[in-house]
């Protein structure tokens, strides 16, 4: 599916509006006195605290946060799905809104150097290089604003879901960095620019994430016994 830049932005704006409305509505499943935002932020805080200081927990914590976010989106019942429309799957897409593909990235509460990877691979010279964006992005930022940041964009970067339309993503991230896990690293500076773009152009949905509310708790399928498993 080829979209014009305007169409990409229109899709992203629609997604922002849907998120904004859906987050403040009551959950469809379970305790319906709770809004989705309340449940999501509480569970996200528990997950953040579980991962803190554990070796390799950045990756598993990121996956757990992404799964939770997807569950929240599914709870909205407005057209978010894991399944691509026929023939339009892209390698980067993590989920879809009414067929429109989105990739998802999470920045943790304690991220000190919030660079992101487009793909986790280091292909040899001549091999396939994953350094071209094909999908608009949802960037979920739990990192609190800090007055100590030296980067002006990070000084202003708020917690929330920041949506970046594909054409703007391509325009902002021109060069990728490298580390020992990937050659398609979106640098901390560029991540700051992406958030700034989203905020300045009204593509962001904000929340106030209190990392302390989940302290002292764990989420565990084991400890939940049979109650943690639900019928599809």
């Amino acid at each position: 599916m080829a979209f014009s830049p305007q169409e990409h932005r229109a899709h992203c704006k629609a997604i922002k509006e849907v998120l904004q409305a859906g987050l403040d509505q009551p959950c469809s499943i379970g305790d319906q006195t709770e809004t989705r935002k309340q449940r999501h932020l509480f569970l996200a805080s528990v997950l953040q605290n579980m991962s803190a200081g554990t070796k390799g927990a950045g990756l598993s914590g990121g996956i757990a946060q992404e799964n939770l976010w997807r569950e929240m989106l599914a709870d909205m019942k407005v057209g978010f799905t894991d399944q691509p429309p026929e023939g339009s799957e892209t390698a980067e897409a993590d989920y879809y809104f009414k067929g429109y593909p989105l990739s998802h990235k999470t920045i943790g509460y304690k991220a000190t150097n919030p660079a992101l990877a487009l793909a986790w691979s280091k292909n040899p010279p001549g091999g396939l290089q994953r350094t071209v964006f094909t999908t608009s992005m949802v960037l979920l930022n739990f990192k609190p604003q800090s007055q100590r940041s030296k980067d002006a964009n990070w000084l202003e970067a708020r917690q929330g879901a920041h949506i970046i339309p594909l054409p703007d993503l391509k325009e902002i991230v021109v060069h990728f960095g490298s580390n020992n896990k990937t050659d398609s690293l979106i640098t901390t500076e560029d991540v700051g620019k992406l958030i700034a773009f989203s905020q300045d152009n009204d593509f962001s949905v904000y929340f106030d994430f209190d990392n302390t509310v989940g302290e002292g708790f764990v989420l565990s399928y084991w400890r939940g016994g049979k109650k943690g498993a639900v019928q599809k």
Partner: protein, 241 residues
């Protein structure tokens, strides 16, 4: 670094001791959430089978499934700890995931849809001259890959699902070279993985542990939908013993 590749009786004994511990503990009732009267084997198999189904056919599902299985495995060990503290999760070796009575083990998972049993020691590609990764811990391979008569390798035609324990010296003497791919420079090729698993069977360092994904096809695990069922205070001892 000079490595001692000769397996000692002491190491075999310690690997056996770990196996015996798991073997006895698996068929006892879970210590947490006792209302459901599940044995640890039943709960582990149910949760892992459900996770395998949830990650099936998804891009990156292999990694997510393995990470999720590792979390369930650690929960199982913590449940065993409630009878007697035997497992720790704070390590001095870079490749260790848990320790049993001060012997460290790394954990690797082969999922039920696995077709090419390569494993990675670590997921990184460091530059030439940078720190090199090598085996420092014994290994536990949790294999849920079912046997298939169509498999090219003889081992996989009759392989059993379960826990394969590989002593450190065996890892060092069997895996002569690491291969590389686009994600790691420390790839343990499938032919070595088979040798390691065969060794575990030959030394009775194997424990059957079967999962039945089809039985749990209609279920999913969900923190979101589970409400407070999966939310617990951190300190288990306070309430569930």
């Amino acid at each position: 670094m000079e490595q001692n590749n000769k397996i000692t009786n002491s190491e075999l004994r310690r690997c056996n001791s770990f196996k015996e511990c798991i073997s006895k503990a698996l068929d006892l009732a879970c210590r947490v959430e006792t209302n459901s009267k599940e044995s640890r084997r039943e709960r582990f198999a149910r949760l892992v089978a459900t996770l395998q189904n949830m990650n099936a056919g998804k891009t990156g599902g292999g990694l997510s499934g393995a990470l999720a299985t590792e979390i369930i495995w650690k929960e199982l060990l913590k449940d065993i700890n409630l009878e007697k503290e035997q497992f720790t999760f704070d390590h001095r070796h870079a490749d260790a995931d848990f320790s049993h009575c001060a012997k460290s083990f790394s954990l690797k998972t082969l999922g039920s849809r696995n077709k090419n049993a390569d494993l990675a020691l670590a997921w990184s590609k460091n530059k030439a001259g940078a720190k090199k990764r090598y085996f420092q811990s014994a290994m536990v391979i949790l294999s849920f890959r079912p046997a298939s008569l169509k498999a090219k390798t003889k081992f996989w035609r009759t392989a059993k699902q379960g826990v394969y324990i590989i002593p450190l010296a065996t890892l060092r003497s069997t895996v002569k070279r690491f291969k590389r791919n686009n994600k790691t420079n420390t790839l343990i090729k499938a032919k070595y993985v088979v040798k390691l698993m065969e060794y575990a069977v030959s030394k009775e360092l194997f424990l059957p542990l079967e999962i039945y994904p089809e039985k749990w096809a209609d279920y999913e695990l969900s923190y979101w939908k589970g409400g407070n069922a999966c939310l617990m205070p951190k300190r288990l001892e306070a309430k569930w013993v």
